[in-house]
């Protein structure tokens, strides 16, 4: 059997706020294989976002083991972790998180900047990624000149440009109308099929969750 895209074993994460310890995750085990399409659902405060940050290597577990590909996150330094994020993980955020002063093309090329890819190659790959999400005609536009759906597609292109094994989407349709939301979900669905990328979508929306082939339900820092 191939190694998982990401695997968490009895992962805990607690925060200290004003001297009070809050356990956001209380022992979560989860394995996601390459090409899987997983929806993480649950009410606010159930630990969805914390889990997503851990899977995305933006944060480290307080205890438990977290593996991305064949790397144990606990053994990596901050710099190595940044490199790991850059190479293996793509992020799609609810609020798009595009750089406002920068064109769609340059936004998409940004992860490649931190990989040390040359400018000409970056443009080429960013253009290909934007074409793949149907925005070949919007390369030179700035985020302010694009609709919400288009902006989220730029964000998806950015998440894919580095050819990651895992794509994490946090409420990707949260800021979109129903029509645009459905388009985005169709796009994500296609990715799983065409490229074998593992996709994890964190969402409130039961309709969005219904599109995934597997659902993980969270409550009070645990998987139900």
């Amino acid at each position: 059997m191939s190694s998982p895209a990401v695997e968490a074993v009895d992962v805990r994460r607690s925060y200290h706020l004003d001297g009070v310890s809050v356990e956001a995750l209380r022992g979560v085990s989860l394995r996601i294989d390459p090409g899987e399409y997983v929806a993480v659902v649950g009410p606010s405060g159930s630990g969805k976002s914390t889990l997503m940050h851990l899977l995305g290597c933006l944060d480290r577990p307080t205890s438990g083991m977290l593996r991305v590909g064949d790397r144990d996150v606990a053994t990596l330094g901050d710099g190595e972790l940044a490199g790991l994020r850059n190479r293996t993980i793509g992020f799609v955020f609810q609020s798009f998180q595009l750089l406002g002063r920068t064109t769609a093309l340059d936004n998409v090329a940004l992860p490649l900047v931190y990989r040390g890819v040359r400018r000409a190659e970056r443009r080429e790959r960013a253009e290909a990624a934007l074409t793949a999400v149907g925005l070949a005609h919007r390369l030179g536009h700035r985020p302010g000149q694009l609709s919400g759906g288009e902006q989220q597609r730029v964000a998806i292109a950015r998440a894919l440009v580095g050819e990651p094994g895992l794509l994490l989407a946090d409420e990707p349709t949260g800021n979109l109308d129903t029509g645009s939301g459905a388009e985005i979900m169709a796009l994500l669905d296609g990715l799983v099929r065409d490229r074998g990328v593992a996709v994890v979508v964190v969402t409130h929306d039961p309709e969005v969750a219904a599109l995934a082939r597997r659902r993980v339900r969270m409550r009070d820092g645990l998987i139900e």
Partner: protein, 394 residues
């Protein structure tokens, strides 16, 4: 990330906030320009004084009563004309000894009047000092011996009291006594706006009677060769101490005068530069402040860049380059402004200005260092931001 990329990102951020970047830069511009201008003025003053003292001629020893110190009041002189003979014997040639007794007096022709320094001298002045005449002749030994009332005037004095009239052979009134003009000095110009062509020379004997004194203020000796200067200094003062029973005398050279003036002006330049450096420091604080604002404003951007794979040092580099760029560009503009203002000041005011090669170089280095020093704290703060927290920021 490649350094060129970090540079491009930093430049983009500065250009995006043009007004803010320019105002921040202005602090550095003013600081660097102030350093360059004030150092140029200090160096100019030093240069001018040196030229003036060197312009007197070489191998000159000035003998004065008391201890030679700038700033201390002159000792009452007991030197007399007989000391010319005494020092002449020490040097081996009496023609190498010039004297001076000076006083400020009114000089007038008809209703035209001016107040100038009147210097009683002997015939040896041209042998000792380089002070060429434009016209006429200098005072002779017979003028001194017979206490003849003749005068050699500076060019400014001539212009003030004679206007366009040819002064040679005409009468001029000095402190109410009539003198005949026998020569005019070649103009030497001014130093720090002080006209040096306002001198009047008359025979020392006539001057002593005019001022009502028997003394002379100072003697000047021209050593035959540069090597003779140092041994002569000792011999001259020793001879005078013998004669005047242990009283103190000083024999100083141009080099010593230059050394003293140079130290004072060097100190002055240093103080001016230090004051200017304070304004550069304030400019640096401005840079630091604006970088902190910039980091806070772009917290979300930093979080995003980190999520996409930027390492701590990528972010640090980006913000550090931004701060250094502000300071370096500001520094270059400041150097241009400083050099320009120095040249302007030198051109339109009596203050001299000399751009020492090292002052723009130093100003540039300091402004770059200011950028690093004041940029590093905000840049580190940016680099250390937790991406989870940063992304959540509104």
């Amino acid at each position: 990330m490649r350094a060129g990329e970090a540079f491009r990102v930093a430049l983009g951020a500065l250009v995006a906030n043009k007004l803010r970047s320019s105002l921040t830069m202005l602090g550095v511009v003013i600081g660097v320009a102030a350093v360059v201008v004030l150092v140029a003025l200090g160096a100019g003053a030093k240069h001018e004084v040196e030229q003036q003292v060197e312009g007197l001629g070489s191998n000159i020893i000035i003998v004065v009563p008391g201890k030679f110190e700038l700033g201390s009041a002159p000792t009452i002189s007991r030197l007399t004309l007989d000391d010319v003979d005494l020092l002449g014997r020490v040097v081996g040639d009496e023609r190498r000894v010039a004297v001076s007794v000076a006083s400020g007096e009114n000089v007038s022709v008809g209703r035209r009047e001016t107040f100038v320094t009147v210097n009683g001298v002997n015939e040896n002045v041209p042998n000792v000092f380089d002070r060429p005449l434009a016209r006429g002749e200098y005072i002779t030994a017979s003028d001194v011996d017979t206490r003849r009332r003749v005068a050699v005037l500076g060019s400014t004095v001539v212009r003030r009291v004679f206007g366009d009239v040819d002064p040679l052979g005409r009468q001029v009134s000095i402190a109410g006594v009539r003198f005949r003009v026998i020569g005019v000095f070649a103009p030497v110009g001014s130093t720090f706006g002080v006209d040096r062509d306002t001198e009047v020379h008359i025979p020392v004997t006539a001057a002593q009677r005019l001022f009502g004194v028997d003394r002379i203020d100072a003697l000047a000796v021209k050593a035959p060769r540069a090597d003779d200067v140092e041994p002569l200094q000792g011999k001259l003062t020793a001879a005078l101490r013998d004669k005047y029973d242990g009283e103190e005398f000083s024999a100083v050279t141009q080099t010593q005068i230059l050394g003293t003036i140079g130290r004072i002006l060097g100190l002055l330049t240093l103080v001016l530069a230090a004051i200017a450096a304070i304004s550069l420091l304030v400019g640096g604080v401005g840079v630091s402040n604006i970088m902190l604002v910039s980091v806070r404003e772009r917290t979300r951007e930093i979080g995003l860049r980190k999520a996409l794979g930027a390492r701590q040092r990528d972010i640090l580099l980006q913000f550090l380059i931004e701060a250094v760029l502000l300071c370096v560009v500001g520094g270059l503009i400041g150097i241009g402004l400083g050099v320009g203002s120095s040249l302007l000041v030198a051109a339109v005011s009596p203050l001299p200005a000399v751009i020492a090669w090292w002052s723009p170089a130093l100003a540039f280095t300091v402004s770059a260092a200011v950028g690093v020093f004041f940029g590093v704290a905000p840049a580190r703060r940016a680099g250390r931001l937790d991406p989870v927290v940063a992304l959540r920021t509104e």
